[in-house]
Amino acid sequence: MGTARNGDEDVVIKASLISKYFPGVIALDNVDFEVRKGETHALVGENGAGKSTLMKILYREYSEDAGSLYIDGKNAKGMGIRQVRNLGLSLIHQDLNLVPVFTVAHNVCMGLEPVNKLGFIDWKELKQKAAPYLKEISSDIDLDAKVEELSNSQQQLVTVARALVAHPRFLILDEPTARLDQKSTEALFDFLDRCKEKGITIIYISHRLEEIYRLCDRITVLRDGEKVLTAPVQELAQTELVKHMVGRELKQQIPKGEASIGEVVFSVRNLNPMAKAKDISFDLHSGEILGIVGSIGAGKSEVARAIFGADRKQSGVIRMQGEELKIRDPRDAIDAGIALVPEERRKQGLVTTESIRKNMTLPSLGKNFCAGGFWIKQRKEKEAVAKSIKDFRLATPSPEQEARLLSGGTQQKVVIGKWLLSDSKIYIFDEPTKGIDVGGKHDIYKMIVDLAKNGAGVIFISNELDEVLALCDRTLIMFNGRLVKEVINKDTTKNELLFYVMGGKDNGSKSG
């Protein structure tokens, strides 16, 4: 029993009957998982299906409650992280676990800092040591920059570079593209292609199925902690794959009826955030879903944050139904009926040490869940949260579960849920579907469409052109901090969007 036996000589990672329990949760239930030498193996499943948990077990961050594990023919049961790293296994976590105040070079070599004779860190050598790893994946990140100064996309690339320090023969990537923009995604794919050529075995987790068809050889589907199947990617049509993942038929179409777009409810004039973006003006109609696209660094989030009062702005006028709003901080914005689903769930969206319930009702606590704005109406609060948990199909044992214990995508759903409870007039979503599973995305699109149907104005910021194209009525394109183009979605194509996102210029003939 157990060892990699005859017939599957080329199986390099073999996990058999793995079970893992958390209090109240069966994260993995007798899961078999086999990866062959040199293949790129996709691991997919809904939020909370157990993907990250299984990977952390391979990496020996968690140990299983039952089952056996062989890596490269060696029994890995008693091993720790250090030993599996020595076997050549590297894991890029779903959460960026970088130290924000340290430099890029330091983060890349974290834990392996070269020291000089006095026992201090040798910064020069550290930088030299980090440079080649970073170059593998990106050419425009400064080794001396502090990680907190980098964009999300760049930070993710730093985690990739860090994984390379161990010279992995087995590389696990847990949703690496969720934070990446178009360009960095391409860079990552090129890098992965090179890895494959070198014979590195890759395990790749993503909710974006097209990536899986582009990259992977075989695929394993997990659902609700159980393995559903393993198959060659090419033998599995996308619709079938989705069915295996969610366990039900799923309409691929975004449920967008004929939008009834009304008056201008919200307008922004000559907005100048403190950094990056310049001179932004646009209108938003009631019932309209307005997309904003642009590569990372184009200044989309800065615009959203300036409108919401999260950052100060240099100048600019914001009007709601014709009336000028004085927004100095998020409180003013929320009072005026504006909601912002922020970009980074763990830093900006959640108090991770608190329960789903307390997080969800936070923005609307005074308005909707308190008697006299003071006494919390526990019953009403519990009912509202229970309903959200159901609507969003949150993978959680209870509304009292601390947010930090949820799977990444489930956390993201909580952040969206908390703002949907706020009854706002204007919703700004900054990359809301990051890390959310196929079914969940569909649910969220539907909720956004419903918001618009009920007369709210929606601003939808995203890097995924496909979803913007399908969901929004109109799209603004930003490049280098400026609004460069506005298109009506039913008259445009993905290629046209891409053209402007990449910095393409009008030559006068194209616009109508």
Binding site: S19, A310, P342, T353
Partner: protein, 335 residues
């Protein structure tokens, strides 16, 4: 939903066993102190006598106000080092007004609370408006207050207190001293405030992630200020009760309960992993005071008894740490 049911059953029992282990490890502190107290009680049965328990409750109640206030400041992510001197000011001012000026008792008490509130507000403003780290800001307040207090009073203490005031500290109802009722009352108030009201909820959440709560529209400055004000409001009550029950108000009145109040509030914060801090602090107060009492019964000298709160605090933190370690060894990463 196609999981075999026997499998689920097996997992459930496994989890139940886990749950018991989990509970024991998490609350090892309680278990530990339970055995300590049992041992003491066997060795010195008087420890559990009604009179002695009443004594423990009395000393606990004197500390409780300051301790609850402090734990609310901890909850928002700050610290108030000046609370013993706020207590000293409250006690000295109120007794001064009652004895030297001859105002009625309630005026003295209101004045004592007001001055505490004022100092608490000052602390809060330094933290929220001048962005001074609360450790440094309140340490500054501590030094200033202390200097002033000696200057104002010349280091004198007040010995003869009005009857009505003394009754608050020494009177009994159904054989239980008045301060114990006050402790019960303030516990309920603080508990309801922290667990059932919007502001209390927001205090905890600000302490958890200030940026996320700001982006959720919470007035973080007001909330932070509020918690320092509450601490300022509650601390003098400890000072006054201490004075009333000892029939004397001295300048250094707050110093007597500084360490136990601090230890109890710290313990209250860690004992339930930052949740339910008021209940935790109540346990903390009782732990600290009963151990102090036990030391007294065992004949430990007063100098050495001063070490007791520190021991309780370190024991709690150590247990908390080992609980985490033990749980991760069990590979239960939940806590």
């Amino acid at each position: 939903m196609n999981r075999s049911s026997s499998n689920r059953e097996q997992m459930r029992t496994l989890n139940r066993k886990d749950a018991i282990a989990l509970f024991l490890i998490r609350y090892a502190v309680f278990v530990f102190f339970f055995f300590v107290y049992m041992a003491i009680a066997i060795y010195k049965p008087v420890f559990l006598s009604p009179a002695n328990l009443a004594d423990i409750m009395l000393t606990s109640s004197l500390v409780s106000f300051a301790s609850f206030g402090l734990s609310i400041v901890f909850a928002v992510g700050g610290v108030d080092l000046s609370f013993p001197n706020i207590a000293g000011y409250g006690a000295m001012l109120s007794t001064y007004l009652m004895i030297e000026v001859g105002y009625p008792v309630w005026v003295g008490i209101v004045a004592g609370i007001s001055v505490g509130l004022l100092i608490g507000t000052f602390n809060g403003l330094m933290v929220t408006r001048l962005y001074i780290n609360s450790f440094i800001a309140t340490l500054g307040t501590l030094f200033i207050l202390r200097g002033f207090l000696y200057w104002l009073t010349g280091g004198q203490s007040m010995q003869i207190l009005p009857q009505g005031f003394e009754y608050l500290g020494r009177g009994t109802l159904f054989n239980i001293r008045m301060p114990v009722y006050f402790m019960a009352g303030i516990f309920i108030l603080c508990y309801l405030f922290m667990e059932k009201t919007r502001w209390g909820r927001q205090i905890t959440l600000v302490g958890g992630n200030i940026e996320a709560t700001r982006l959720s529209g919470v007035n973080i400055k007001m909330i932070t200020l509020l918690s320092f004000m509450i601490c300022g409001l509650l601390s003098p009550l400890s000072g006054m009760l201490q004075a009333a029950s000892a029939s004397a108000a001295a300048v250094d009145i707050g110093d007597r309960f500084m360490v136990p109040a601090f230890a109890a509030a710290m313990m209250g914060t860690v004992i339930f992993q930052g949740k339910n801090v008021i209940l935790g602090t109540l346990f903390g107060i009782i732990f600290v005071e009963s151990l102090n009492n036990a030391a007294f019964i065992l004949g430990v000298s007063p100098e050495i008894r001063r070490v007791v709160p520190g021991i309780v605090l370190l024991a709690t933190i150590a247990f908390n740490y080992y609980a985490k370690r033990a749980l991760s060894e069990m590979r239960v990463h939940a806590y």
